[in-house]
Structures are given as C-alpha cells and as structure tokens.
Subunit: 369 residues, 2 copies
C-alpha cells in the first residue's frame, strides 16, 4: 500500500484578495496521488467542500484506520484513476487543515489572525490553487473536479482561468448561493459568535467556542441529509427502549446522531474557519456576467467538455440549480453533459460510494483525454 | 368595533399528564368571539400553533394596532363566521401567554417552575382544552380547527374525545413528527440550553437566555418559509448598496430578516416554553393505533366531516404527510375532504390571508352545520 503525505508550500509573494486586502504570506497544504507525466498534461485538481481538507484519498500510515474523504473515487482503477492521472487536492484558503486561515499565525503580529483574518471568496481560494499549480509546473489541468463548495471552485476556475481548464466536473453545486442557503449559513454563524467563548474571534490558546460550533454543525448536518434519508436512517426510533423518558435528554436516535456529529466536528475544525468558508459560499454568485470576460466563449472554442451532476434528494443545491449551470454553458456553446442521479440520501450523496458516478467519471475522463 | 378580552380560568382539580406526573393547579387563558347559542352547539375551537396564543382575532383596545394572529379568518362574515359561530381559542399548556407553563409559579414552591415543569404532550394540551369546555358548558364542538401544531391538537381531539368532535379541520400538519422535524427542533433546543444564561432553566428574575432563544427562532423561521418564498422575498439583495462589505455584519436582506425575527421573538416568548412545546411536537405520533380505542370508527358512525388542507411549498409538514391523514381517515370510512393549496410561501401559508381557504372553510362549515 502506497501511503500519502501532506505537503505544504508557501506561495511566492503576497496574495491580493477580491476584497482588496492582502495576505503577505500564504501556505497551501496539498496531497497528490499518481504521477505527473512528462507533458504535464494529466493533472486533475480535486476541490474539496466546506469542511473538507487535502486528504482526499489514501492513508498517512499503515495503522491509519480512516482513508481520505473521497477514497472510493480516487485510486488505481477508480473513477479518478491514479494509474493514468496525477490527482491533486489542496486545502482551501481560509480553512484550518494546513492552508492559511484565521487560525494561522499573522506574520505581522506573531499571533493567530482570529477575526482579523480578511474575508476570502471562492475566487481567492481558486487563485491560491492556481498559484500552487504554478509552483508544481502545471500550466493546464486535464480536469478540475468538485462537489458542493468544490463545484463552486470549478466554476470559478472556468471564469478566471478558462485557458487552464481542460475539462470540468461539477457535482451537487450552484452558480449562486440562494437566500435559503445564506439563511442556514447565517444561523450557523450566529450560533458560533453567540458562544461567549468565541470572544470576538480571539479564542486561540483559551477555551474554544465548542458549543456554538457544535450547534452550527448540527444545523449543517440537517441540510446535508434529506427527509427521506433521515426517515430511513432514524425514523422515530428511540436511543434506548421504546418508551419516552419525558425529559430533555437526547432520546430519539436522530438527536443522538446530531449530538455526535457536533461533538466530533469540534475536534477537527476551527470555529473561525467555519465563519470564513460559509461567508465565501454566501458571496458566491457567478451567474451574472459569467461570460463578461469571454471565459465561456474561450472554453467553447477550446472544446473543454463539462459534466454536471445533481442528486434527486439534494435540497441544499437541488437539481434546478445544477440545471441552471447546464443552461448557461449550453447557451454559450460549451460541450456539457448533465446527469441527475437517483439518490435518497440528500446533498451528502456526492461524497458517498456510487457506481453510477464512478462510471460517469470514467467515461467522461476517457472522452476528455 | 367590538373588543376582545383575554380571560383566565383555573381548572377544577389537578391535571394528570401522559407522563404520569400531576399539575396541582392549571390556569387556562382563552378568548372568545361571537355568541354561544342556547343549544350550545355552535362552538368552534381554534387550536394555535407552536408559538401562538389565545389572541386569534380582534383587538384588545381601540388603540391596539395589531389584531390577533388569525384575524383574517375569524370575524363576522369571515371563514369562521362569528355571526353564526362561537369561536374559542385557548393558550396551550406549556405555553407562556397566560396558560400554565414553565414560567408559571409552582404552587408548591412559590417560585417559577423553570425546568422542573413536567414534560407535556399534545394530548395533555387537549385534555386541558376539554376541561375548559366543561367549565364553559360545551359538551360537543361544532368544529375543531388548527394548523401545524394546532392540527396535531385536532387529531388528538379525534383520538381522545371523538364524541365531542362534530367536525374537524387540519391545516398543514402531520400524524407524526418525522426525524427531520425532530432534528430541527433539537437544534433549536440545543441553541437555548447552550446559552449560559439559560442556567439549567432557572433564569427567571435574572438575565434571560435571549441569544440562544433568538438563534432558535431563526432556525424555526427558515423552516416556515420555502426556497421559493425566500428567493422572492429576499433573493441575494443586500441591506445597503450593491457591493459586499467583506465583514461579518448582516449584509444580505435575508440575514437582517432573520436577526429581526429573532430579536422580536425574545420580547414575546419564553425560552423554556419553546423547549416544552417543541418537545410536545416531537413526541406526537398518532399514526399507529389511531383507532385502537375505536375513535375513528366512532367519528365515522356519527358522520363527523373532516377537511385536510396542505400547501404545495410546505416542506415542514409536506403534502404527503397531510395525505397520510386523509388515507387513514378514508380507510376507516370517515367523510374527509382534502385540498392542496398552491402557495409559494412555505409552511407559513396557513397563517396568511387566503380567499381559497376562506371559501373552503365557509363551504365546509355550512355543510357540517
């Protein structure tokens, strides 16, 4: 078994953000699978979702019990076949898994940024990815792939670096965050900043706002599942026995599940990072002016193919929002395929093992190669 | 203009709850509109939803700017025509608008119950309503009407007092709380109990857990609207100007709306009451054994007609859950009509002015009279 290693690069020079702010020093954490060929034209960039990280596949050690988050899709002979392709995944700017974010040390003060970290956008995240590819000597990607917030990054690649996009795959995503999605994110953020331990965002080295972050994660988890998925998974089953306890402890299984997800999350994620990445999602709106700089025309001219996939029970970024991407792409003459996959498990479907998606990706990448 | 007055009755003797606990003294706040006829057979009981109160219609004074919450439906010549019917609405047990709840004084201690208040169920709420009707000398209701949690109370009336139900109207409701609805309620509860000011539920006379309650209300509000309603109402419009502020203040209109709803709510509602009424909703499951004591058979025999109404964009208690009520009623030979009303505004639709609902109610009550 080949192990994977998390690498970190410091970008050359500062990064200017969409807000006009600057980050003097940006570190990018990334992992790779497979080999970059001599022509450097077999690279696939995988863009992770809201709370993901660079560890998309494989294991760090022989004793590592849990492989990366998309291990079912990345590897030899898998959907993203590492016998053919060089797959890269980097932690997003603003994250907390090795790339620069609010928990990083501000070189100007020697202390963690906290809430002094500037607001970042999806375009900023993609700019950092592009500069990582510069360092790796990769001019053009064979494909850029992502689901959810990762799909927004794929669309931002199309808009900002069309000449570097050989093809693209967008899963369960949207061209712009709707009022409903903004609403869920804002409630999650309010839950964090309402925790007295948040302390204006400067809690590093002190007690963390774990309770607020945990409730925020519970809200998120509800949106990742579906009515049907929750019914199948938990129904009204009780945690213990079959009679009500008539108190306020978690007694339905779905309550225990949410508590567990909340508690598990605070061990791996930074509360400030959740504020920043949800804000980046809320700012995302590529629908108007997608082609204002001729990006879509360029993608059509160079015949970069696209695959858009939605899931029937996804109510966070439902099929109609994915179809809107298809419409805009078609209107500009792009080669775009669309597939709605039947799934009862809600938005999370794009992360789960799927023979359907594997065969779609295999076919798509074969065609684009 | 005839003014309305909030009355309070103390029930005769203690109330034994479904949990087996007792409440030694129970006060019920209620309001009435129209006149009870000599035969005492023209009474309509309106059951309010989660955070409603007895003030369903009219005004308390000439200067009262805001009428009751269903003023569009209750009054002379309206859907519930007070020229013909005697309409009653009482605040639910566990509430905080005049009926006994966690903020009431525990006669045993002389202090507010707080979290020592026993867990109550929908059946307990209905038992208290039935005992209020006893005091008013009303044996049988011409009709019992309610939406959302109020609809659950109508179903509980059917199950527990079929002989007292002349007819029933259930709007936007369900026979049992699903895992999704329980999940939303549990996150709202966690938001409250995570507020340090909640203090184990004994915050009366001290600082209240307003922040936790406010976030809980924001979560609720998301579920009362729909993707489409939020898009129409707010879209991605900003509160001020057209450029992003690149900070974490509420800048999208939907964010300001949620903040406003949260802030407004804490002025009128008690945090502990929200814990208790959401718990009562979560416990509600009348699907199994609805007819185990022959209640549905009895309703069919006495030819009590029913009207079930759902709304197309309601994703909290969607049409399929309302249809399940229709199926069970039909299977037991009840006279039941069903209507799905086209509405883009989500679950809240049942509270909004609707000519369609007015004409449905007028027709239904005419038929049942």
């Amino acid at each position: 078994m080949k192990l994977v290693e998390k690498k970190q690069h410091v970008l050359d020079g500062p990064v200017t953000l969409e807000s006009g702010e600057h980050l003097s020093e940006v570190t990018v954490a990334y992992e790779t699978w497979g080999e970059l060929n001599k022509e450097k034209n077999n690279a696939i960039l995988v863009c992770h979702a809201l709370t993901g990280d660079s560890h998309a596949a494989g294991r760090y050690s022989k004793d590592d019990l849990k492989p990366g988050w998309w291990d079912t899709m990345i590897g030899p002979g898998k959907g993203l076949d590492t016998d053919k392709f060089f797959v890269i995944c980097s932690n997003i700017l603003g994250g907390c898994m090795g790339s620069t974010g609010p928990s990083s040390i501000d070189p100007a003060t020697g202390k963690p940024y906290g809430s002094d970290f500037p607001v970042v956008t999806i375009h900023d995240m993609v700019q950092v990815q592009a500069r990582l590819l510069d360092l790796l000597g990769i001019e053009k990607l064979h494909c850029v792939v992502g689901g959810s917030l990762g799909g927004m990054q794929v669309l931002s690649w199309c808009k900002n670096y069309p000449e570097r996009v050989g093809s693209g795959v967008v899963l369960a995503s949207t061209m712009r965050h709707t009022a409903l999605s903004i609403a869920f994110n804002e409630v999650a953020r309010q839950s964090i900043v309402s925790d007295p331990n948040w302390q204006g965002g400067h809690y590093y080295g002190k007690t963390r706002p774990d309770i607020g972050l945990s409730v925020a994660r519970m809200i998120g988890h509800i949106t990742y599942l579906s009515d049907e998925a929750m019914h199948q998974k938990f129904g009204r089953r009780l945690q213990n026995g079959s009679t009500f306890s008539f108190d306020f402890d978690a007694e339905f299984q779905v309550e225990s599940y949410l508590h567990y997800q909340g508690a598990k999350f605070v061990d791996r994620f930074d509360a400030n990072s959740l504020l920043y990445v949800t804000k980046a999602a809320d700012y995302f709106d590529i629908k108007e002016g997608f082609n204002e700089n001729g990006a879509l025309t360029r993608l059509a001219e160079q015949k970069s193919p696209f695959l858009i996939v939605s899931y029937t029970s996804d109510w966070l970024y439902p099929t109609y929002q994915n179809r809107e991407i298809v419409s805009v792409f078609k209107r500009h003459g792009l080669d775009v395929s669309f597939c709605e996959i039947e799934a009862s498990c809600g938005h999370d479907a794009f992360l789960l093992p799927s023979e359907r998606l594997t065969s779609l990706l295999t076919g798509f990448l074969g065609k684009g190669a």
